[in-house]
């Protein structure tokens, strides 16, 4: 009885010591009117366009003497095309595939997850199929998502540069 009272007192003291803690609005409570990243899924990307995206990403990397693994998946997140540049690191084979699949299945750049996790939204790491690293970008045709490209091998920022070159080559 006595200890319960002491705990209640301690809790009250803690609340007083952190003024406004309970009132702090949780950003996740906000209900936006529209769905974010509400892009419709389109026809799965054709092999020739997937290979054009990869060729552009590889060319960008080659220009800078970077060694990348580059993956393109279709609108279902399934592997369509892949290239490993000479000397690219092995771990990045899977990472590039993961980035591409994540970008397709969440319809957003994987950078969004990286930024969210960095910003303290650690719950993002509990979502299925998430990768918190930039370098995965959706491929878009006429406002519809037709696939995604993922690059890995360097720093996230290097991966993103290659990736953007690849996406720019085919997005329309």
């Amino acid at each position: 009885m006595k200890s319960t009272f002491r705990i209640a007192l301690l809790a009250a003291a803690a609340a007083a010591a952190l003024p406004g803690f309970a009132q702090q609005p949780n950003p996740l409570d906000a209900v936006p009117e529209k769905m974010p990243f509400d892009m419709p899924y389109g026809t799965p990307i054709a092999l020739d366009r997937a290979e054009a995206a990869i060729a552009a990403a590889v060319a960008e990397a080659k220009k800078r003497d970077w060694k990348m693994n580059v993956t393109v998946v279709d609108s279902g997140g399934n592997l369509v095309a892949f290239q490993r540049m000479d000397g690219a690191q092995l771990a990045s084979i899977k990472i590039s595939q993961h980035k591409a699949a994540t970008a397709a299945q969440f319809r957003r750049e994987t950078k969004a997850f990286e930024a969210g996790i960095q910003g303290g939204f650690n719950y993002l790491m509990t979502l299925d199929g998430v990768i918190g690293s930039r370098g995965g970008i959706p491929l878009v045709d006429g406002g519809k998502l037709v696939g995604a490209i993922g690059c890995s091998g360097g720093t996230g920022s290097q991966d993103e540069v290659s990736c953007k070159a690849g996406a720019a080559a085919v997005n329309r």
Binding site: E51, F82, Q83, L90
Partner: protein, 135 residues
């Protein structure tokens, strides 16, 4: 020190293009995977209309040939010959269509194909390998 040849991306582009041409010539639609001798993916292409399942099967056939240094069809023969225990070999898909790439007397990688009948898959894989200069 022992040295051995290594597949470059340029080699892979040649192999994949030749394999795809062989498939097209026969109006076949397939997925083509090229791996190094460690079973790691080097190049992949899934032709329009080939299924996601074909992608996974091509990879596994290729990996089988790469890490065992023999065709995945050879493993299928073992199983057909009664060695059903071979189904449980780790990392082995005992289905024809994965071919090792031999150079300088060693295995430097493999090609795996899936999409048509298994012997046709193998024909495509071999056509890809044949595009490499001999040696």
């Amino acid at each position: 020190m022992k040295t051995r040849p290594q597949l470059t991306l340029e080699d892979c582009l040649k192999i994949s293009a030749a394999a795809e041409a062989e498939a097209r010539r026969n109006s076949w639609i397939v997925a083509i995977a090229i791996l190094d001798d460690g079973g790691h993916l080097l190049h992949f292409a899934r032709m329009d209309g080939a299924t996601p399942a074909n992608a996974g099967i091509a990879l596994e056939k290729g990996r089988t040939a790469a890490i065992s240094r023999r065709s995945s069809g050879k493993w299928e023969e073992f199983v057909k010959g009664g060695r059903t225990a071979m189904i449980k070999m780790p990392g082995i898909l005992p289905v024809q269509g994965g071919m090792p790439i031999m150079a300088g007397g060693t295995c430097i990688g493999a090609v795996g194909v899936s999409g048509v009948q298994s012997h046709e898959d193998e024909q495509i894989a071999q056509a890809g390998i044949d595009a490499l200069p001999k040696g």
